[in-house]
């Protein structure tokens, strides 16, 4: 990615609400994590102060398996930002822990992406210390 692209990703991550910070700090360690409710045991994403299941304030960040499958995806042909020249893909990954995350599929032709395709996390360093959790065919 170019310098402008790095800035784009960094600025988008820095602009997220404070609850997101531990997720991206873990990504910098190349660890995929999510909050797990200490009271009802549910994983949750996106990050939030309370559990949407039981509204408990108590949670612990836990490392995830990084294994999942493609839930849906789109190959984008419109240039929304110079940071992402088309065509590129965006995807929803359904993780084995039962939560979904937005991402990109790498290591695979866009034409070969399918719903239900098994994937595993792969960290891409897009600028110094900034890692995006992307997914490649498992």
């Amino acid at each position: 990615m170019t310098g402008a692209a790095n800035d784009f990703v960094r600025e988008r991550i820095d602009g997220l609400p404070p609850e997101h910070k531990p997720f991206w700090e873990a990504c910098a360690r190349q660890e995929l994590t999510a909050q797990r409710c200490d009271d009802c045991g549910r994983f949750r994403y996106p990050p939030a102060a309370q559990c949407p299941n039981c509204l408990s304030e108590n949670s612990t960040w836990q490392r995830l398996s990084g294994q999942g499958q493609v839930y849906s995806w789109s190959v984008i042909h419109h240039e929304f930002t110079p940071a992402y020249p088309p065509p590129y893909n965006v995807a929803i990954i359904e993780l084995d822990e039962g939560i979904r995350m937005p991402s990109n599929i790498i290591g695979c032709d866009n034409a070969d992406i399918r719903a239900g395709m098994p994937v595993e996390v792969s960290f891409d360093e897009v600028s110094d210390g900034t890692f995006l959790p992307r997914f490649r065919p498992a």
Partner: protein, 382 residues
């Protein structure tokens, strides 16, 4: 309880600006032009209006919008306010107006919306989202996720999405007020570039400046005012999946499932009673799923339902007869109510559906996160 008021309230007037470009106009002036036309269409005095309800312009959200509209109308309303259900708001405001009338707070409501996303300044700042670092930007990308999931679960095809675009563009070509008046063939559709696969340019709504307004009152009051053909509100419903596209339980069922059951239940009608439909079509996949959720066909069969001219004027269920968001205007929903009223009054011109007595309207918004349903008819109680 809710069945008691089916038909008790009605729409007596509609008005709209032209759709397309309005450089240099304020959103307030577009609202007032549409309201002035609706007052004239209803043949009432401006002073009869005692409720002013608006949806905030998407490009310039701010507090107190309906107050500014009341001032420019020279009115001091008993009831006013805005509602945010994204694209479901216009039907939501009909519900709010009727509730206030049931409470005895007002008798004649004007409901309006106007915006200038094509030529005006866009002050809408998108909320920060965890999807954007991955380059997931823009509504087409999100609706593409829904369309792709529907294709993966049910085998829905590109040609079936294309049938929807072809139908609504055909209707737009029959509407002298449509922003896009150019019919396309399925081959034209398939040759168009992708925006976000599986959505092509013709799967996405147009972007339009302009505004529309409707006037709602009780059927009894309409009769006393000598309204010739009040269009009665027989059914109303709402249901909101709410969650962001990545996280909700299913991407292939919309709020139409809940909202439709409420509206058809209140009206005491079934899908077989609908003569003409005006369904929110910000993207082609939306009416396809809406047909399924209202029960016109089984879940997964929406693609096949839309093929073979069934949803075109002259077909079994003419839909979006003015061209919808894909052709007439990308305005979020008021035009669908206006066209339903026009069809039921027999004012559809070249695109008039013969003997149209009962119409179905859907409004929906966000990324298929909100939904409202309204059934209108010239028949029924009251």
């Amino acid at each position: 309880m809710s069945n008691n008021i089916s038909g008790k309230y009605c729409i007596i007037g509609t008005g709209a600006t032209s759709w397309g470009k309005h450089p240099g106009r304020s959103t307030e002036s577009l609202n007032i032009e549409a309201i002035r036309k609706a007052i004239s269409d209803a043949n009432i005095d401006k002073g009869d209006i005692d409720a002013v309800l608006c949806k905030m312009p998407t490009t310039s959200p701010g507090l107190g919008y309906s107050l500014a509209i009341a001032q420019r109308l020279g009115l001091t309303p008993k009831v006013t306010g805005v509602l945010d259900q994204e694209g479901a708001t216009m039907v939501g405001l009909v519900e709010y107006a009727i509730m206030c009338m049931e409470l005895g707070q007002c008798e004649v409501a004007v409901i309006s919306y106007a915006d200038y996303p094509r030529t005006g300044p866009n002050k809408l700042a998108p909320a920060p989202s965890e999807v954007t670092p991955f380059g997931w930007l823009g509504a087409p990308s999100s609706y593409a996720m829904i369309a792709r999931r529907h294709m993966s679960e049910f085998g829905t095809t590109h040609e079936q999405l294309g049938a929807i675009a072809v139908a609504f563009r055909k209707h737009g070509a029959m509407n002298p007020n449509a922003q896009l008046q150019k019919a396309i063939t399925l081959d034209d559709y398939l040759a168009r570039p992708w925006i976000a696969e599986p959505l092509r340019a013709d799967d996405c709504c147009v972007v339009s400046d302009g505004g529309g307004a409707i006037i709602v009152t009780s059927t009894e009051r309409a009769r006393s005012m000598g309204v010739e053909k009040p269009v009665k509100v027989l059914g109303l419903g709402q249901g909101h999946p709410s969650w962001d596209v990545s996280y909700r339980e299913t991407l292939t069922t919309s709020g139409a499932a809940v909202a439709g059951r409420q509206a058809f239940g209140m009206a005491g009608l079934t899908t077989a009673d609908i003569d003409v439909a005006q369904l929110y079509d910000c993207f082609s996949i939306v009416p396809l799923i809406t047909f399924e959720d209202y029960g016109f066909c089984a879940k997964g069969e929406g693609g096949a339902f839309c093929e073979g001219g069934r949803i075109e004027v002259g077909g079994e269920l003419p839909t979006n007869t003015s061209g919808g968001l894909l052709s007439e205007t990308g305005s979020p929903g008021i035009q669908l109510i206006i066209e339903a009223v026009s069809q039921l009054r027999g004012n559809g011109g070249e695109r008039q559906v013969a003997n149209a007595k009962t119409a179905l309207v859907s409004n929906q918004g966000g990324i298929m996160q909100t939904h409202a349903t309204m059934i209108l008819s010239t028949e029924g109680p009251f």
